[in-house]
Symmetry: C2
Subunit: 586 residues, 2 copies
């Protein structure tokens, strides 16, 4: 072993010990006859001290050390005269007796500091240097601890981790698969899993009762910020359970993680919200409940006052923004422009200022009396000093727009503190989703999701209202994961396939293995999957999942550090019986 | 929850409790007025009892249960009149009060018993039923426990699990990559990792000190028994260590696993053997040291006695097979034929019978006196009653043949008890491997493997004798894993590339990322990787790794359960700009 201790563990209690440390040179400072070297490894920083009076040669050697040199220092732990309260090793320093350069370093392309001077492309190209920076290594440490604690919790609850295959069968529906050509089987391909959904249900048929896996999944989607072509899921499934059992077990997991990772005790039951309320009150199926600012349906209150825009609208809704009645014309114009951007898509914005002095001011003064406006403001949750923002249009789109505006106002008012965590179960998702383009219903979750028993009767007559035993865990407005109770009854499954327009042939073509397996005694079962990257980013206080992925790809699905994807050789193509179609042929 | 207990946990202490169990019907037996149902889940079997006198209707219902029906039974834990000592729940049975059929089952294609009547293809096609069988579920449980304990041990030793990417860059040398066409980047491909070797070394440059990962790896190899296209590695790397440190840490891991999985305390240091001794004494770089039967070099003793075969041979070696002097002519002929099979490849076999009565009998009586033969026998380790088997030829091939024969004789004599575990470190592997075809040296491990310091001087002058800081962990003749200390000194690395005939361009083309990374302060580092499938199979007493893989592929790399690989749609091919070359064009 090249060292006796790491750079983060020595304390006052170690004074007078002779130690050997290894690490990277963070900084060299010369102060008069003294030279100080900050030695860094993943555990921390320890100060090395060299005195030109006691050992001029050694001190000279230290002065020549470059940034990021790898060194070994042997010396005695000494009490510092001026202590550094900012770091755990700040009470001590090492009076060095021997210094060995283990490796030199060229000058790195950016500074290895918490706040670096490197741009994103440079940081990604030299990710192995980026990782040396405290914020990145901290993110990876958090992710590691989180994975370990997930396993510890689930293992303690009789879950078995089972590895499912990576080389599976491509299914045409759903998101796009990454495929892998087979060399042995001419013209055939494997697919990389988008999730182990079918396999975990097969494991339930197999009697594995409580399954989990922390597993890489793949989706060949079009470019979008903060999506990775490969991502990691905490994938879980249980047998002989109902929805309540699943929620209890995984609420326990969430609490375990908050406790172990963040030191937060969540000694309360997570709130639950049905999907319909989430949409109507928060304009989102993943409400951020760290702040109120609920959406109110004011359609009935505003119609028939001669304001054509409202009269023509299907739905009019409002939020009350606390303490913003004093917004200037300029500020209100800016918000109006903001909601009219294509990313939000509103046609316009109506406001009511409910002033501190009880007066009222609105962009629709002409159509409503001050009393009417005051009533609308109060109904929308406003008190004096608050600002009411109103949008109108078709119900679901306008709720979505209002949901986005609500989040924006929450951000502007500083209501979304990263150190506060507000978990929420969203339940009773719709079973089906209507698709305007193809004029038919699709399964919102997947075709094996079970309807709620109370809604069995309306499956055929009113499918749009039918609810599923499906649930999402949402924290701070981020969907951390979700799942459902599956159908295990074959008659109900046949009914579902029919409703979804699956012929028997089509169902067989896509799901034959699972459908056949279900003939041999499928237990009642259900489960869920969490996005590990996203959950880790949330706990890490990161805005991007890249902060908790060791070697992420860029937004063009490219690893610019190792240069992938790249051309392969003609021999490889030939062995796979593949020809690349020239771009011009497309 | 559909149940209060599982089928493996009720004991005499639970008598009189009312419980609810769920599971699969293993067996229904009618004895007079009583009906007994064996209810099975992954935890065990519990006996349900129905009495036609107390509840005829319920009993009738139970009698109609089919094999593998999924049921829920509510009843009272009762003491059995005739206890079953073979199962942990054998003291009790459940007197059932309510029986619910949760799902029916068709008659399974094979019996769900420890010894099933299903052939291998049928078992693989219905793997989800195969897994219900105790031997398979036990294998998966062992694997799960092993993975968990690996993590627990390494986490306790400051190792961080870091996920490395699955979509990486293809490198032309080495085994064949599986590749993944990119849709966005025309004509480019990702590769699936054969191992995270480059990434783990980059993590050392990044300062992650102690890394591990239990990770899927991929190799597109030609068909071979008991190989899987995807397999799982326990991949590890450490910084600031020498070979001894790596061996200590991972010997600790091995001991931890033997203790936790098999309850075996290994309170001794694992023996170590240099590669040269392993080859000369066991004819293998992975000796099974559960038994002796060492190989002895008798070249000098047998030459110049007029026996042309030996006189012409480069190397003559022998093993002494205990207690087999009484082998018949027929038995010896059979062994001779066995070693002449192409799989072994020997030209012939010479024997010496050192009989109980001190007489000697050999197939080469003509050329050697009984005294000479006795001396050879004794030198080969034989005593009276033993049989000496002799092979000759070129040194390395004949040692390999003798190694295979030694294992075969060990098997025949029952010397390879599955319940005995004999771990061994094989160290000092050669740095280079000579390739006859291309008349040059190749790196035996990989080009970053460091030579032993003592051999720096002979790298250019006598490369064939140079040894590496490389090591394998071998248990019972199976290579469980191996690794090396890497080169971190760039001057030495340049020297190695030169020796291996890499031009600078070629080195850059294959390893540019790692070579560049090494410029910025690479720490001394080394590591290893274990084959999880193989180690789990070994601990499970399995001959095939398929016993510890939930959904293995067959020997043609096909998943016959889910039918992969398979054709993909023309749209998919088109999006990927791929054309499949017809077979006839090849």
């Amino acid at each position: 072993m090249y060292r006796t201790h790491n750079c983060g563990e020595l304390r006052a209690a170690d004074i007078n010990k002779t130690v050997t440390l290894c690490g990277w040179v963070q900084k060299v400072r010369n102060l008069g006859g003294m030279t100080f070297v900050d030695l860094r490894d993943r555990y921390g920083i320890t100060q090395l001290v060299f005195n030109t009076e006691t050992n001029a040669e050694l001190c000279e050697k230290a002065r020549k050390l470059g940034r990021e040199f790898v060194i070994q220092a042997i010396g005695v732990v000494t009490e510092r005269s001026s202590k550094n309260k900012d770091i755990p090793t700040g009470d001590i320093e090492i009076t060095v007796q021997e210094l060995n350069i283990l490796n030199k370093s060229e000058i790195p392309p950016f500074t290895i500091e918490d706040n670096t001077d490197g741009g994103e492309d440079l940081l990604m190209k030299y990710r192995y240097l980026d990782i040396r920076r405290r914020p990145i290594i901290k993110g990876l440490q958090l992710r590691n601890k989180m994975s370990f604690e997930v396993r510890r919790y689930l293992d303690g609850h009789s879950f078995m981790e089972v590895e499912t295959p990576m080389l599976i069968k491509s299914t045409p529906e759903g998101a796009r698969d990454y495929v892998v050509p087979s060399r042995i089987h001419h013209g055939e391909f494997y697919a990389l899993p988008q999730s182990p959904q079918q396999y975990k249900q097969l494991l339930m048929v197999a009697g594995i009762d409580r399954y989990y896996q922390i597993v890489k999944c793949f989706r060949d989607e079009d470019l979008r910020a903060d999506r990775q072509p490969e991502f990691t899921q905490i994938d879980c499934e249980m047998s002989f359970v109902e929805q309540e059992d699943v929620l209890q077990v995984f609420e326990g997991l969430a609490k375990h993680l908050f406790k172990e990772i963040k030191g937060i005790d969540m000694n309360y039951q997570f709130p639950r919200m049905v999907w319909k309320d989430a949409m109507e009150q928060y304009g989102s199926d993943k409400p951020d409940i760290r702040f109120g600012m609920k959406i109110h349906n004011i359609t009935d209150k505003v119609k028939n006052h001669g304001f054509k825009v409202f009269d023509d609208a299907e739905y009019v809704c409002a939020i009350a923004v606390g303490g913003c009645a004093n917004y200037s014309r300029k500020q209100l114009d800016e918000i109006t422009e903001w909601v009219k951007r294509p990313q939000v898509g509103a046609k316009g914005l109506v406001y009511i200022k409910y002033n501190e002095d009880n007066t009222i001011k609105s962009s629709v003064d002409k159509f409503y009396s001050p009393e009417e406006l005051t009533e609308i403001a109060k109904f929308s949750g406003a008190g004096t000093g608050d600002l009411v923002l109103i949008l109108c249009g078709k119900k679901l789109p306008v709720l979505n727009q209002m949901g986005v505006l609500r989040i924006e106002m929450g951000n502007r008012l500083g209501l979304r503190d990263k150190n506060i965590f507000a978990p929420l179960w969203v339940v009773d998702f719709p079973l089906f989703e209507w698709d305007e383009a193809t004029q038919r219903f699709y399964a919102m979750h997947h075709p094996f999701t079970s309807p709620k028993k109370e809604d069995y009767d309306i499956l055929e007559t009113n499918p749009g209202e039918a609810r599923a035993n499906a649930y999402d865990l949402v924290i701070n407005g981020i969907e951390i994961g979700g799942g459902s109770i599956r159908i295990h009854d074959s008659a109900l499954q046949v009914r579902m396939f029919k409703l979804l327009g699956f012929t028997e042939e089509k169902a067989q073509a896509q799901f034959s293995c699972l459908i056949n397996a279900f003939k041999y005694g499928a237990p009642p079962h259900g489960g869920l999957a969490f996005g590990l990257d996203r959950w880790a980013a949330l706990l890490n206080g990161s805005d991007s999942i890249k902060d908790v992925i060791a070697f992420p790809k860029n937004n063009a699905a490219r690893d610019i550090m190792i240069d992938a994807p790249s051309k392969i050789s003609d021999e490889q193509l030939d062995e796979l019986s593949l020809i690349i179609k020239p771009l011009t042929d497309k």
